[in-house]
């Protein structure tokens, strides 16, 4: 079923591709739209905006989410902002510049056409959100305010205090609620997708489990949209919500969808350091803090345990400002994270365990006053104090990198459709726009671009040929998929071993963090590839899952997710091992410049690596999609 990977990128000039493509996409007439059933999995920015927009257009939509309300999807936790090329600051921004910053930020491992389209629709997103009532920050004259973010030399980020994700999500959620009231959309909260159903090679429905009652259900549809977010929780500790998981995309992979660039995982430089073994998650401090905070460590190891106030200016190393003078503290995420790891590896890290660096606001407070800093970042300082018990107005914050976002995801073409016809993937769940590293404030942009302005054009193009082809939920494919789901649940409950889920998951996470984290090398990855199957074997032999199937059973729901992580982790390592270069967040120690920067191999690796499932225990098959750069010139990414 898989030939060459055709990304279906339209011909023509870069800045005209999307426009002319839209002119030729097939349409579904208004009175036919209600004859189509579409299932959207996930209710974050991408899922909720897509579900609401498709509802507005008149399709019959079902949206499922594992949270008890769609308003709680993890997009809610995004703090900093959303980019757009409005150029309201008159500082030289443009669609091209946002495109260029994004593709360069991604270390030239994303498609030009996709990224350009993203930059193009960014402005419409801001218009749409303002109209919905998103209370973006404003200036005294009543016009919208902006701030700057890592990887850019212009101020193009729109924000709502430190709660931009929450406000954008509430905008989508409210649009979703409007469609629920209008009767075009049915919401299935507290429901998890456990399998994708494929009929005649096309995605035509799902098997779901109600988390509340344990009831298994079949959903037949004309198309399936996955908007299930990222897989950062494979590392156990990440800034993701506890429930975030890979199950939906991994199940789709096992049904034939290709998984692209799974090893591209973003480690965010500014998180609160780990405090102990009990820790269940990591908390992000928005990157916007780097606008006013200065990152430093002591120059000498002996000063490490001194109170920061007693270390003189001369004894401090503001290492980002030193190494990358033109971007300084606003260097991109992958570079800032690696720089923090390096200084800690050299024994200069601060705080318990020596895994932390200072983010210091003293200069900004002196320059702007505490009140201004409070206005800009007040809630972040409060969060920091709650968790650490320290007042960051008085002592510098301690931060350390943590897993935050996954650039990898299911492979999709320019229409956001996977290689399985009828299966669309949007938002963080796909691989499409961020290459090997995502810039700050671009995730929210991509989620909403896909949901509001791209999928609603490209999905009808598929549906137009599907009239009357929706199978019955009683067809053999559904019965078979349901049987397999039930067998797996039974198997999980029957293991009845001794080890807890958390213990196994934590061990997996630790292994990945060490071997497939901020920097990787072939030997380490090979070790991980030996250990992961052992751990998986132990899971199926010795995990303890209590309770019943047809009940609200939190251990059972988590067990299914951890089982998928245990398979998926292997795919990540295989991908990391196959990519014999360093690019963006994927830093292979064997491939670096004399200054220790990522060394790309554009000759052989300017490509998307997409993996095909070949059966349990079989190695996956690699498909390459070469990346063609017609407009930008590939350079070594320099932020010096």
């Amino acid at each position: 079923m898989i030939g060459t990977l055709d990304a279906k990128i339209p011909h023509g000039l870069l800045n005209q591709k999307w426009c002319s493509h839209r002119d030729h996409l097939r349409l579904v007439s208004p009175n036919n739209r209600r004859k189509f059933e579409i299932i959207v999995v996930g209710s974050g920015l991408a899922g909720a905006s897509a579900a609401a927009t498709l509802g507005e257009l008149g399709y019959r939509v079902r949206c499922i989410c594992f949270q008890d309300s769609p308003r709680r999807a993890h997009s809610v936790a995004a703090q900093g902002g959303i980019n757009a090329a409005k150029n309201y600051q008159n500082d030289g921004d443009s669609i091209y510049r946002l495109f260029y910053d994004t593709i360069k930020g991604g270390d030239f491992r994303s498609r030009e056409a996709n990224v350009y389209r993203l930059a193009e629709v960014s402005n419409q997103i801001i218009d749409q959100c303002v109209e919905q009532g998103v209370p973006f920050a404003r200036e005294y004259g009543g016009l919208l305010a902006n701030r700057s973010f890592g990887g850019a030399q212009v101020s193009r980020t729109f924000y709502a205090r430190g709660q931009t994700g929450q406000q954008l999500l509430l905008g989508c959620y409210q649009a979703l609620c409007r469609q629920i009231a209008a009767g075009t959309l049915r919401m299935f909260p507290h429901t998890e997708m456990l399998d994708l159903v494929i009929v005649d090679g096309q995605a035509k429905g799902l098997i779901t489990r109600s988390l509340r009652s344990g009831k298994i259900e079949r959903h037949a549809s004309d198309a399936v949209v996955l908007a299930t977010g990222g897989y950062g929780n494979v590392y156990y500790l990440s800034t993701n919500a506890r429930g975030s998981n890979v199950t939906a995309t991994y199940r789709a992979y096992k049904r034939g969808a290709l998984f692209a660039n799974p090893c591209f995982t973003q480690i965010h430089p500014t998180c609160i350091p780990v405090s102990g073994e009990h820790q269940s998650k990591l908390t992000l401090m928005s990157e916007s803090l780097r606008n006013d905070g200065r990152v430093w460590v002591p120059k000498r190891n002996v000063d490490r345990d001194k109170p920061p106030g007693e270390i003189s200016e001369a004894d401090r190393d503001y290492y980002l400002e030193r190494k990358y003078p033109s971007y300084g503290n606003l260097s991109p995420r992958d570079i800032s994270s690696r720089a923090a790891k390096e200084v800690c590896d050299e024994g200069l890290g601060v705080g318990p365990g020596g895994r932390g660096v200072y983010l210091d606001f003293a200069d900004a407070i002196k320059r702007l006053g505490e009140e201004t800093i409070r206005e800009r970042y007040g809630n972040l300082f409060e969060v920091y104090e709650k968790i650490t018990g320290e007042n960051a107005y008085k002592v510098p914050m301690r931060i350390y990198p943590a897993v935050h976002y996954t650039m990898g995801g299911l492979w999709v073409d320019y229409n956001l459709m996977s290689n399985v016809p009828g299966l669309f993937v949007i938002g963080e769940a796909n691989f499409s726009d961020h290459g090997a590293n995502r810039l700050g404030a671009s995730a929210l942009m991509q989620g909403l671009a896909d949901g509001y302005f791209i999928l609603p054009y490209t999905l009808p193009n598929y549906l137009a040929g599907q009239m009357g082809k929706r199978p019955s939920a009683d067809s053999p494919e559904f019965q078979q998929a349901e049987r397999e789901v039930r067998t797996r649940i039974k198997k999980l409950l029957e293991v009845d071993g001794k080890r807890s889920l958390d213990a196994i998951h934590r061990e997996l996470g630790h292994l990945l963090w060490e071997k497939c984290g901020m920097s990787r090398h072939a030997k380490g990855l090979q070790e991980a590839l030996t250990k992961i199957p052992e751990l998986r074997e132990e899971f199926w032999r010795n995990v303890r899952v209590l309770g019943k199937d047809e009940d609200y059973n939190q251990s059972l729901e988590r067990a299914g997710r951890v089982a998928d992580f245990l398979e998926f982790a292997e795919l990540m390592c295989i991908d990391a091992l196959a990519r014999n270069e360093s690019c963006g967040a994927h830093f292979r120690q064997e491939y670096q410049t004399p200054e220790g920067e990522a060394l790309r191999d554009d000759e052989n690796h300017a490509a998307v690596f997409a993996w095909e499932f070949k059966g349990d225990g079989e190695p996956p098959k690699l498909h390459c999609e070469p990346l063609h750069f017609e407009t930008v010139h590939l350079t070594q990414r320099s932020y010096k």
């Binding site: 419409q124 749409q128 009532g133 209370p135 102990g276 709650k386 807890s500």
Partner: protein, 251 residues
Amino acid sequence: MNFRLRIWRQPNAKTTGKVVHYDVRDISPNTSFLEMLDILNQNLLERGEEPIAFDSDCREGICGTCSLTINGEAHGPDHPGAVCELYMRKFRDGATIVIEPFRVGSFPIVKDLVIDRSALDRIVQAGGFISARAGSAPEANSIPIPKYDADLAMEAAACIGCGACAAACPNGSAMLFTSAKVSHLALLPHGQPERESRVLKMVQAMDAAGFGNCTNTYECEAVCPAEISVGFIAKLNREYARARLRQNIGK
């Protein structure tokens, strides 16, 4: 640190629940309250007892999933903040801690400490939105909004939808929740066309869900993790009166 826990356990909505005693030992003061419950659940698992069901997701105070009443206070003693932002250093070593779900008639118990808050979603579905079809919006800066109004709208919009307001209220009222959404949208120029129908429908849905009314005890404001002001309830009352009056005159 060591703690004596008294935890509400209830197998499902149909069965009566009861308080069960548990002890936890050697808890680091830097452990969050929910991590302390994770540790207890690990211990229960090892003993072959079914873990305690409780809800949480983001664990950083923004998703509004966690919903515990601790020693009689919604979200526990460290206000403002959700339970997930509460750390054990806030408790005395050896303390007895009583843990229950949010107790509101309109939030039926699903299991143990997990409740069903779909009533809050129904209030928003009734009209807590601006009808702005994707694609139809004008240029974002075409309507300037005074910073004061935008900031105030943001203060109201910060609600995380946890339902602690209703849990803390002696009347089980969700008026702080409803007023936050009504105020957020009524303060913005874009929310004007539906201003009256919105407040009338949302209040109707709130009443239909069985929530009580406000009698100015302000317990809601005291426990709100997002620090939503009761001033918005006053605004809700004004908005409601205004809408009813105009509706009546219109007739």
